[in-house]
């Protein structure tokens, strides 16, 4: 006898519940309200045993089951709790960042690591992300900056002409090795700072995480190519100074995202842009020219993101400007008793720009480095003014920036 052929039917054919038929059955039952009935038909050999066991585990009720040589026909009543997971579930924003209300002003810790736009079941264990306010982290440019960064990734193995000849003399090569040594420790710092904050930012701000993650990957690649360049003609690297490291340590321990981002990206990496383009101009070989150019292109994006999210933050919290200024002053005070830039680095920059050891060349090199320092200063002032600092304040703050450049 066929139990109630008028009922809506889910036909499982010969597919067993152990081979995917449970998916068809669950989908069919989910579309029904609690207490509604469905007819289930199938011809799998074990359906007679598996169907009641499955229904018991899922909270559905077998009203009637008929099994014979032709297969199994059953009436299943949809369980009272089948839709429980939808109760109190919340939509965690929208995936398209440009849509209205896509990004919450405050990301809910109960969304956890759910994709933005997901329907999040109630009862998720809250994850206390320290940076959960949109104003603290968001930049409308984040999606496009991430897309640019993803498209601009380069392969250190093929993007650099590693086999190009190096014909300059030993003193210039030593200078290049010293500069590369210095760049590695600075880029290591530039990797560690965003990495520290990555784990504190609510994943609701997906594009910000992506920008910072790719920023870390950029720095990892820079560390790689600068190290490889240094080792092309030398087995050991140059010096690392206590003063330089003291300056970098202040960045690594900075606990506030806005202040760390300001000191690192806007002031430090901004200053580094001038340095990398200076090295590009004066590089004695095509390998060095290529590594600093590729690094400079990446660093420009890092600076752009820092400026973008801080400009937005300041627009919503004007007092942040004073806090950022104090951060520069505090860092300056902390570093007053330190030597600042490694003297070996300064000399190396002069030598690289000089291209030789005769007095005329050294004179030109020294002048070029002085011009570099001026260029760094004007770049910093320009960026500070973009963030809303007055001309005078921008000049004063730029002068307080670390002598270590980063």
């Amino acid at each position: 006898m066929d139990p109630d052929p008028r009922l809506p039917t889910v036909e499982l054919g010969t597919l067993g519940l152990d081979r995917g038929a449970d998916l068809l059955l669950a989908r069919a039952l989910m579309r029904r309200g609690a207490g509604e009935r469905m007819r289930v038909q199938g011809h799998d050999r074990e359906l007679r045993v598996h169907l009641p066991a499955w229904c018991r585990a899922k909270g559905h009720r077998i009203v009637e089951i008929v099994a014979d040589d032709r297969g199994v026909t059953a009436i299943v009543e949809v369980g009272a709790r089948v839709h429980a997971r939808a109760h109190e579930a919340v939509r965690a924003g929208l995936p398209d960042p440009s849509a209205a209300a896509a990004i919450a002003d405050v990301a809910d810790p109960r969304w956890g690591v759910a994709a933005r736009g997901a329907l999040v079941e109630a009862g998720v264990t809250p994850i206390p992300f320290a940076l959960a306010h949109k104003d603290e982290v968001w930049a409308d440019e984040a999606p496009s900056l991430y897309a640019q960064a993803a498209a601009a990734q380069w392969d250190p193995a093929t993007a650099i002409p590693w086999d190009a000849s190096i014909e300059h003399d030993d003193a210039i090569e030593d200078a290049i090795v010293q500069v590369m040594t210095y760049l590695v420790e600075n880029e290591t710092t530039a990797l560690l700072v965003p990495a520290r904050f990555l784990a504190q930012i609510h994943p609701h701000f997906r594009e910000v995480l992506q920008v910072l993650a790719i920023q870390c990957a950029d720095e990892a690649r820079h560390i790689d190519v600068f190290t490889r360049r240094a080792r092309l003609r030398r087995d050991v690297l140059g010096t690392s100074s206590a003063g330089g490291q003291a300056s970098l340590a202040t960045l690594i321990v900075e606990p506030d995202f806005a202040e760390a981002s300001f000191l690192l990206s806007v002031l430090g990496e901004g200053t580094f842009l001038s340095l990398l383009w200076f090295l590009h101009t004066h590089a004695p070989d095509p390998i060095t020219r290529a590594v600093v150019k590729l690094a400079a292109q990446d660093e420009a994006r890092h600076v752009a993101f820092g400026l973008a999210h801080l400009a937005r933050h300041i627009e919503r919290e004007p007092a942040l400007v004073d806090r950022l200024a104090m951060a520069v002053e505090r860092r300056h005070d902390a570093l007053t008793q330190t030597a600042g830039l490694n003297a070996d680095v300064f000399d190396a920059l002069v030598l690289v720009a000089a291209g030789g050891l005769d007095t005329a060349a050294i004179g030109r090199g020294h002048a070029a480095v002085r011009a570099l320092v001026d260029d760094m200063d004007s770049g910093r002032r320009r960026r500070l003014q973009r963030l809303g600092f007055s001309t005078d304040r921008a000049r004063a703050l730029s002068e307080l920036h670390t002598r270590n450049f980063m």
Binding site: D18, E46, A53, A57, A84, R85
Partner: protein, 284 residues
């Protein structure tokens, strides 16, 4: 502990037991019931402690329920099953052979080896072996039994024994294996049994599984409040839903004792709990 504390006995058959009862303890406290748990490593110790009045309610396996029921009866008391999971009702067990096995009937298992769960597993050993014995094949005499003793004393709550039995079947070390109907499906999902690689030779009748057991008046406080709260617990409540998922239920139902006949028949046939019941009663 105060006189109003409801003390529950449960067997820690898996680390998740701590998570489950700690979670329920918080929920009960929020609903005005001072609730605590004492965990045992085996059901025999739990039943004996219950018989001696060391705690109020036991979360008992079906075998522990029958142990308690018989001890209570022999000492002039009555045991009651006050609540159970919706998933504790109307289980069946299956005896499974490989799809290519020549064995078509239970009788053809004569002189063959059958893998079962732990010695004290109602679902993977006692009930299916009684089912086989009912058609004339005495375990140990007419069929050889391979016990898969994962954690004896836990009455088969840990499904490792059933899984080992299934693996022995796949490895062609045995001719048949016994397991709960739902675990036959589960083992296929897990990949322990390849879908379609086995055939259900026979299925037992329906039986019930765990229950919350008490000795004496089931309507006294705080037992009555515990039961009322339990039956009112809703799967719609996200606070307890994860715990209910861990414990494997959608709803708590009133206890019933009509579903233990098959297990009673098995333990009477095999004398499974006589010595234990006698020892506890003798020591009272």
């Amino acid at each position: 502990m105060t006189s109003s504390t409801l003390l529950l006995g449960a067997v820690a058959y898996d680390p998740k037991v701590v998570t489950i009862w700690e979670g329920f303890r918080t929920w009960f406290a929020e609903h005005g019931l001072d609730f605590d748990v004492v965990l045992f490593t085996n059901y025999e110790r739990q039943v004996e402690a219950h018989a001696r009045g060391h705690y109020d309610v036991a979360w008992n396996s079906p075998l522990a329920w029958l142990q308690l029921q018989r001890i209570a009866a022999k000492t002039g008391r009555q045991a009651h099953a006050i609540a159970m999971r919706d998933t504790d009702r109307d289980l069946t067990s299956v005896v499974v052979v490989r799809a290519d096995s020549p064995v078509k009937t239970i009788a053809e298992l004569r002189a063959k080896t059958i893998a079962v769960g732990a010695h004290d597993s109602p679902q993977a050993t006692l009930i299916p072996l009684e089912h086989i014995a009912a058609v004339g094949l005495q375990p140990g005499r007419d069929v050889e039994i391979r016990y898969c003793d994962a954690l004896v004393g836990k009455h088969g709550d840990h499904i490792g024994g059933e899984r080992d039995a299934a693996r022995a079947l796949v490895a062609r070390e045995v001719e048949a294996a016994c397991m709960i109907d739902g675990n036959h499906l589960l083992f296929a999902k897990e990949g322990v049994l390849a879908p379609g690689s086995t055939r259900i030779l026979t299925q037992t009748g329906k039986y019930d599984h765990c229950n919350f057991s008490v000795v004496g008046d089931p309507h006294r406080e705080p037992i009555a409040k515990f039961r009322d709260l339990l039956l009112g617990m809703s799967y719609d409540d996200p606070q307890v839903r994860a715990l209910m998922d861990l414990e494997g239920l959608r709803a708590w139902l009133p206890g019933r004792t009509s579903g233990y006949a098959l297990l009673e028949r098995a333990i009477d046939a095999f004398g499974t709990i006589d010595a234990f019941v006698g020892a506890v009663v003798g020591g009272q």
